[in-house]
Amino acid sequence: MHILAFLIRRAIQAVIVMFVISLVGFSIQDNLGDPLRELVGQSVSEEARDDLREQLGLNDPFFVQYTRFLGNALQGDLGNSYFFKRPALSVILDKFPATFELVLGAVFIFVSLSIPAGIYCAINRDSWLSRIIMSGSIVGISVPVFLTAIGMVWLFGVELGWLPAFGRGDTYELPWGWDTGFLTWDGLSHLILPSITLSSIMLPLFIRLIRAEMMEAMGTEYVRFARAKGLSTRRVRYVHAFRNTLLPVVTVGGLMIGTLIAYTILTETVFQWPGMGFLFLEAVNRVDTPLIIAYIIIVGLIFVVVNTIVDFIYTLINPMVKLPGAKG
């Protein structure tokens, strides 16, 4: 029952969030530029452009346009992209697998590196390797992601010629219409540089976070007690102490999903990765307002879903935590 109440509450929140996002998105669209300029050539007359604007309903008052949008949106129609000439929602969903796999690749890299590195640095505080990792992570935090990306392209794509520098390579379509790059060698090799780039924002942060939390846990009473009880060092470190460092890591991780999505925009653009982030930046350049609004609504939805999942994971790691909104 608790979980059901929690989900209903979350669903209501999601609807409100979506509504606010659409309202904000809609009210800023006039400042994004004139979509007509992108639809017609340079020598088309002002009059012809006005006709087209009228046909698209862009001359209607804000309230009329917004009500029309909302009515359609409730039926799952977020409007047609000006550029792709297809429903904005389906354009975005077509690009979702690419972004999802990129994020998954990045998460895989930073999780599998930051946990061992963070624990190592917490336990062997003064070893030379820890020093290198810690100072390296400061550099990592400071370098902007587009610079990392271009550096990667030049080093591995051009100078060494080891890895492809753009695009997604060969993809394989799974039966439910999901284009995956995970199943071909070509697809995987295209994934390497962008996912390293994307993970480079998270990696230093997580190493430092895990190290700090681990060090704190190692100094707590229950760890000292476990030691005194005669448990093996291994069990004390990796079961008792590490489990408690995970809690803040999951919190921060959940919050950072947003950052990760924001950085997919930059990463995808540099690597010509055909995902949602690249699509979004292009849509902004082309003043493809229906696509822009659909993107921010979808991203809003992703946020809500991810936060809900994070709250769930919380209860699994630490049974003392109750789901917010559910009565204990």
Binding site: V44, F166, G167
Partner: protein, 512 residues
């Protein structure tokens, strides 16, 4: 060593005699891919690049800015207002249908209904099929630009489009934006918009004399310039355009790649609004601005030589190009002109420029603003992305605004029609004259040039216009943006590129 060399020579001879090079795959990257497969949907460089791959024009520009016959074998002027095109026989569309005069007439009617193209075809009052292979075009008056206009006629397969749907959709989907049947050297094998378009050679292509040996061409749009350059240098693609000025040297110096550059025809200018700012209405002040701006320095320092310094709108090779007009830069002269005009203490003006429309656009404006400070013109500069810039431009929102222009007809009169004639909402003339510059003689000469069929007289009229504009400093010319293509060595791109920037990829040869 000697026998070996002989052997090599002999082998080369034998191979040369065999003739046709083996079929090749071309992988190329532009900064964007065509918005639609419908050649009449949007008048843009991307559309024309596509059209030259999958369609053929009646005639096309050659490298000397002359005309080469394509689907029109020959043409003759019957009288001042009538031109007859004799079509090539035995040409088939991708569907197998024969290309006849009916298709050409149908295509031109469709062009006249396209919002983007109808302006160009406005003067063509009637188009009739005299017989299966003769088309007659009548214009509303004597017209010197019939052939220029005919380069925009890419005959479409009438039956194919009438069956599927011939509607031109500026928004929403249409049959023609997803399907095509032309006569061109390539067909579209697959297309994922924004990701990849695959072209296959048309096995029944009529032009058997074409040396082209590209069997499959794969277009990948790569938006980011550094990534595009990296793709070429790493060998992932064979050919890229455009090349950013910062990477010209690198591509030129790399042992595996080559750079092909050409003087372009897009003029970059500043327009000075005489209605908004009193000072700019004074020709002396405008001349002072022209003298104060070192456009040669801008080309060298900011454009890294990737531009041709301009003193007028018409580039060399255009009928209106006036060879007597030279770039002017003389700060002392500028200062004395300011004094003469009564602005010794200078004045303030606002300036707006796009920051992602032309090559280095905002840097050019920053440099210009700094140069104007030297003659006490205080510039308040705002730069913005083109999406926001164009609505501002339409509002005439600043005293000085930047505009670049490429003549759709490759003719000088087009510059005047849009940029320097007196703005008139009824005729659409001066639509991009944000400075409100107005000179009756410029208007008259331009109008006269549109119906003047004597090339000598036309040149005189249009060169006179350039001279007037220069003397009155109607606008500030910077440069014509150069064009650049990067290619892998062996991809003979230099033989098929042109100043209009639609490479004739059907004729491209890739050497082993």
């Amino acid at each position: 060593m000697k026998p070996l060399r002989h052997f090599a020579t002999a082998a080369a001879l034998v191979l040369g005699m065999v003739g046709t090079a083996p079929a090749q795959t071309l992988s190329f990257a532009y900064d964007a891919d065509p918005v639609s497969l419908d050649p009449h949907e949007q008048l843009s460089g991307g559309t024309l690049q596509l059209s030259h791959m999958v369609f053929d024009p009646l005639l096309r520009w050659n490298s000397d800015l002359g005309f080469d016959p394509r689907l029109a074998e020959s043409w003759e002027r019957v009288d001042d207002t009538t031109m007859r095109f004799k079509l090539r026989e035995g040409v088939t569309f991708h569907t197998g249908n024969d290309m006849t005069a009916e298709d050409v007439v149908w295509t031109i009617e469709r062009l006249k209904s396209s919002p983007d193209f109808k302006g160009i075809f406005a003067g063509w009052v009637s188009v009739t099929a005299i017989d299966d292979y003769t088309v007659e075009v009548k214009t509303d008056g004597p017209s010197p630009l019939v052939l220029h206009t005919a380069t925009y006629v890419f005959p479409m397969d009438k039956d194919f489009y009438e069956d599927g749907g011939a509607e031109i959709a500026k928004h929403g989907d249409s049959f023609a934006s997803q399907n095509l049947s032309g006569t061109g050297p390539f067909t579209v094998a697959s297309r994922e918009q924004g990701v990849k378009t695959v072209f296959e050679r048309n096995p029944d292509y009529w032009d058997t004399a074409s040396p082209g040996n590209v069997q499959t061409a794969v277009l990948t749009p790569i938006k980011e310039a550094p990534t595009r350059v990296a793709a070429l240098l790493s060998g992932d693609v064979d050919f890229i355009a455009p090349v950013p000025p910062t990477d010209l040297e690198r591509i030129k110096n790399d042992p595996d790649t080559k750079l092909v550059t050409m003087t372009g025809t897009r003029i970059i200018t500043l327009q000075m609004n005489q209605n908004r700012n009193e000072a700019l209405a004074d020709p002396k002040v405008r001349q002072a601005i022209a003298y104060a701006i070192n456009n040669e320095g801008i080309v060298q320092k900011i454009m890294k030589g990737f531009g041709t310094v301009a003193a007028q709108q018409s580039p060399e090779g255009y009928v209106g190009h006036n060879p007597d007009l030279k770039p002017r830069f003389d700060v002392a002269k500028a200062q004395s002109l300011m004094e003469e005009a009564g602005y010794a203490d200078g004045f303030s003006a606002t300036m707006m420029c796009p920051n992602n429309r032309y090559v280095n656009d905002f840097k050019i404006c920053e440099a210009a603003a700094a140069m104007l400070a030297k003659i006490n013109v205080k510039i308040d500069l705002t730069t913005m992305p083109k999406a926001q810039y164009w609505p501002k431009y339409d509002e005439r929102a600043a005293d000085i605004m930047m505009i670049g222009w490429h003549s759709d007809t490759e003719d000088s009169a087009n510059f005047n029609e849009f940029l320097t004639m007196t703005p008139d909402p009824d005729t659409g003339r001066g639509q991009y004259n944000s400075g409100n510059y107005s000179n009756a003689e410029v208007d008259e000469l331009t109008i006269a040039s549109l119906t003047e069929t004597d090339p000598g007289k036309r040149a005189e009229q249009l060169q006179r216009v350039e001279e007037i504009l220069y003397n009155e400093a109607a606008f500030i010319p910077f440069h014509w943006q150069d064009l650049a293509w990067g290619a892998r060595k062996g991809v003979m791109i230099e033989d098929v590129v042109n100043v209009m920037n639609f490479p004739y990829l059907g004729d491209l040869v890739i050497e082993e």
